[in-house]
């Protein structure tokens, strides 16, 4: 059974004359426990697709089925609960709370997920240990280096033991050595926990390490490649499904 199934998803930004099709009839099937790279240039819609798959964004058309549940049909509150239980994020610019301690940063998802106080400590320390930051648990996050901040972000992402881990350009702000360590942490988590890892990137080296690559161009799936060598053209999966309400995409740079 597919863990994530995106069917005919269309997302438009702006209104009327300024309308811009960020996603146009996207169809992607992501099996359980695979690593996926969403690859494309700026404005190709890769971040929008990630937001749509995580329920952060609401496409006006299509279905996003995660674990058998169409999250586009859920109420906002239920999507929030769903996300706090099953998903986690790592961002290019870390988004760690600089004035807070590492411990408190990692604690946040558990608090949001209503994990009882007494069960938090062990989980937080385990997450910090797995990224090698156990020594810095009570240091302020702003005193960490860039690589350490991203490791902290990974600890924060994995502490809630998500089934799906989204990483938006996770190595974009890091040098290649540090970036490689971060990549290893992400892939290790996915492998050890049989979790789905979805990496948004324009780095082809990073993309090639994934089981599956989804190439996006102008809001459409250009092609999907899998580790076993099969390459799927969009026609094969979208045939007879795509509707183009606005008559095709218009290219507008967004970032």
């Amino acid at each position: 059974m597919a863990e994530i199934s995106v069917a005919d998803v269309t997302k438009t930004y702006g209104k009327k004359k300024n309308a811009f099709l960020a996603l146009s009839g996207i169809n992607v099937e992501i099996p359980d426990g695979v690593t996926v790279a969403i690859v494309g240039k700026s404005g190709s819609g890769k971040s929008t697709l990630m937001h749509a798959m995580s329920g952060l964004d609401r496409p006006e058309q299509g279905e996003v089925i995660v674990d058998g549940e169409n999250i586009l049909k859920l109420k906002a509150k239920q999507v929030d609960i769903f996300r706090s239980k099953k998903m986690a994020f790592v961002f290019q610019s870390f988004f760690v709370q600089g004035n807070d301690t590492c411990y408190s940063n990692v604690s946040l998802p558990l608090e949001i997920g209503r994990v009882p106080f007494r069960r938090r400590k062990a989980r937080i320390m385990r997450a910090l240990t797995s990224v090698g930051l156990e020594e810095k648990a009570h240091s302020k996050a702003k005193n960490l280096s860039g690589g350490e901040k991203q490791r902290l972000a990974i600890a924060r992402a994995i502490v809630s033991e998500p089934r799906v881990l989204f990483a938006d350009e996770p190595t974009g702000n890091l040098d290649s050595v540090t970036g490689a360590k971060i990549e290893k942490l992400l892939f290790d988590y996915a492998r050890e926990n049989h979790a789905t890892l979805i990496v948004v990137t324009h780095d082809h080296d990073l993309a090639s390490r994934c089981d599956m690559q989804v190439y996006l161009k102008d809001g459409k799936v250009e092609r999907i490649e899998k580790r076993d060598g099969t390459s799927i053209q969009p026609e094969q999966i979208t045939e007879g499904v795509i509707k183009r309400p606005l008559g095709g995409p218009r290219k507008v740079a967004v970032q």
Binding site: F95, Q97, E111, I112, R114
Partner: protein, 454 residues
């Protein structure tokens, strides 16, 4: 997210912006300070007034006049029909006339079953006062002994509360002993002579001729010059000046019946003879002063109970307190905009944090709550800060204020913990209301937009 976790996060967020938090809560603190002071001053003044009245007025005491207009603003002004009972009151404002009580009224009060200790207010104006062993003549005030108050004595003894002193006795205030330059104890048992004068009488021609025939020029002079009479009393006690007194003027006290005799002598031949502007009485226990008051009013008298006197004082106190509290509320209003502004800026500064929390699955409601709790903490901090500063300065200033106002051990600033707690509680609530708009903005923030910043 659990309420406790949200509260903790809110407190931590504020701690991370110490300067801003402190300054915002300081603004509220100023309001809280003013309000605490207003509350304390109101409470202290009310309590002082209460003590003052309790020391001076028996709760059963009743003040009765014939003329209800006495209780109205400035008495009655205008043209009224002549009434033999109406006399101009020299001590009042010129032209003010008041109806006076006469002996038949006193008899009526005494005949009522619910009044005791009916004592007309005898106005005694002695010409001079002399003390045994001292040839000098002094001017002093004389009053009748009020059995409803038990004063402290410096020397000598007083009868138990509610009992009059003997008709031959007198008490003198401590300050008189000081003026005389003698020890208070040495005055006990000595006599005090009080000389009253009758008003000069106008004699008819026939009376003058008769006097002249009888005793010559001297007799005529005697007839026309004011008559004087000296009453002598034994000093039984020297009283301390009570701090809780309405009238700061120290007076010699003689018994009510002695005062009656002296007053009768003093007013002989004048229109004031046998007439009194007011009467004090005690309502017998078992009867309610309010019922008696209503009944007296239905008989055409004006009456005021101890409670009425209290309510007049309290009205003044409450008005003053209201004015001070009003300023406090204005300050608070200003500080509310401070909270709104600070929280708005805080939302703008923390868009990425809000976006992240949303991405992690924090609900809109929880995010709104987080910001409202931050506002609540600011309110709590400001309220506690203002109240604490007010409490400390108030407690330190109290002795100086009491000394300056000469009110003895009483304190004008009285801090009541539940009033302060209620005020801080109200501040927290107000702060939450002020935090409403910014918290809504935070909750409505688009997480995708928010995560794009930086």
């Amino acid at each position: 997210m659990r309420r406790f976790d949200i509260m903790r996060r809110a407190a931590r967020n504020l701690k991370q912006a110490k300067g801003r938090t402190f300054l915002t809560s300081l603004a509220i603190g100023v309001g809280a300070f003013t309000l605490t002071m207003a509350l304390a001053a109101g409470q202290g003044t009310r309590d002082y007034a209460d003590k003052l009245l309790k020391n001076n007025v028996d709760p059963q005491a009743m003040f009765i006049v014939k003329d209800k207009s006495l209780f109205q603003q400035g008495g009655t002004i205008g043209l009224r029909e002549y009434d033999p009972d109406v006399s101009t009151n020299s001590s009042g404002r010129p032209g003010t006339t008041i109806k006076q009580l006469n002996e038949s009224d006193i008899t009526y009060f005494n005949s009522r079953g619910d009044l005791t200790n009916v004592i007309p207010t005898y106005t005694l104006s002695p010409k001079w006062v002399q003390f045994e062993g001292n040839t000098k003549k002094y001017i002093g005030s004389v009053d009748y002994y009020d059995a409803t108050i038990l004063n402290e004595t410096k020397a000598g003894t007083l009868p138990t509360l509610g009992t009059q002193i003997a008709d031959s006795d007198a008490t003198i205030p401590q300050t008189y002993a000081e003026t005389l330059g003698v020890d208070a104890g040495s005055l006990i048992g000595k006599t005090v002579s009080i000389t009253f004068a009758q008003q000069a009488t106008t004699a008819s021609d026939a009376q003058i001729q008769q006097a002249f025939a009888a005793g010559g020029t001297q007799a005529v002079q005697d007839l026309l010059s004011p008559q004087e009479k000296t009453f002598t009393y034994t000093i039984r006690a020297v009283t301390k000046t009570p701090t809780m007194s309405f009238s700061a003027t120290p007076r010699i006290s003689i018994s009510a019946s002695s005062a009656r005799i002296a007053n009768a002598y003093q007013t002989t031949g004048t229109t004031s003879s046998g007439k009194y502007s007011s009467v004090t009485a005690l309502v017998k226990s078992g009867s309610s002063p309010d019922t008696v008051k209503a009944d007296l009013e239905s008989h055409g008298y004006g009456a005021e109970t101890a409670k009425d006197a209290q309510s007049i004082l309290f009205t003044i106190v409450n008005t003053l307190q209201g004015i001070v509290a009003g300023f406090g509320l204005l300050t608070l209003l200003a500080s509310l905009f401070g909270i709104i502004n600070t929280q708005y800026i805080s939302v703008l500064e923390r868009t990425s944090q809000i976006g992240l929390m949303k991405a992690l699955g924090m609900s809109k409601k929880a995010i709104a709550k987080l910001f409202r709790y931050e506002a609540a903490w600011i309110g709590l901090l400001g309220g506690a800060l203002g109240a604490a500063v007010a409490f400390i300065t108030g407690t330190l200033a109290n002795p100086a204020i009491s000394k300056a106002l000469d009110i003895g051990d009483s304190q004008i600033l009285e801090f009541v913990w539940w009033q302060i707690a209620a005020m801080i509680g109200a501040l927290v609530l107000i702060a939450i209301i002020a935090g409403w708009l910014p918290s809504r903005k935070a909750a409505k923030l688009d997480p995708i937009e928010a995560l794009r910043t930086e």
